[in-house]
Amino acid sequence: MNEVIDVIEKEHMRLDLPEVNVGNNVRVYTKIFEGDKERIQMFEGVVIRKRGGNTRATFTVRKVSYGVGIEKTFPLHSPLIEKIEIVGKSKVRRSKLYYLRDLKGKAAKLKEKRD
């Protein structure tokens, strides 16, 4: 990549957020604007994908709500992300956990990682 573009991208990166890894259980707090009102919404789930470099990076969080799987993709460096909390870490052997989509209940549980 061009060096100038690299510099521009680095300027927009957020370094205050914790490192998010695939298999982590996270709580993502995002700012939501409704008219002129602003509120914060929380989304909790497991990170199943990380992609892209620099400012283009995104990550996808999956949760199962009332038996329906929901996935939400966030730009990792978005200014709309208020904070990210890492609740737990899991042992994973894939970089993309797409296989979780086919599993239900106990089978979809990941093994906890102890540091």
Binding site: I8, K31, F33, N54, T55, P75, P79
Partner: protein, 215 residues
Amino acid sequence: MGIGLLGKKLGMTQVFDEDGSVVPVTVIQAGPCYVIQKKTEKTDGYNAIQFGFDEVKKVKNVNKPLTGHFKKANITPLKFIKEFRVTEEELESTEIGAQISVDLFKPGEYVDVTGTSKGKGFAGVVKRHGFKGSPASRGTHEYFRHGGSIGQNMTPGRTMKGKKMPGHMGHERVTVQNLKVVEVRGDTNILMVKGAIPGPTNGYVIIKKAVKKPV
């Protein structure tokens, strides 16, 4: 009318705007541009300013006529040379050898960007003109991406002019209009516009004020 900038496409990326939404931007190295020559109605028949951009690395490879041309303006030889038609007042306010900065454009303004599109070689009608081709099944035999009939019978007895057919695609002058200027960096002469512009990375482009967006 009015001067513009010469530049080089560096590539695309994305930035976040103040609402937090993602804006796709093209980064252009737009300058430093130098004034090489001023053409006047009296001597050349029209008013124009000749701009140059991108310094030549091996000065010894520049031919003699061009070396003399640059010497007149007292600047080092440049690779990309273009003229902009201007009014008399604009002609008087610029000096030969002067450097035109990227500050000509402000964030929020609209520009037109002209470049040479990427060459696609000899392309068929599906790629070149968006024809649908033929069905993939139901008896189609060796006729998947053809253009079909190209005319009628004895009357008119010829193919109509301008019939869309296969041929060379790309590598032509293309202008993209009304691109919003997202950011201007005067110190490094970097211009960022929203959206894509024609040509490959490191391709030369001409940036002008938008014709169809009067400010």
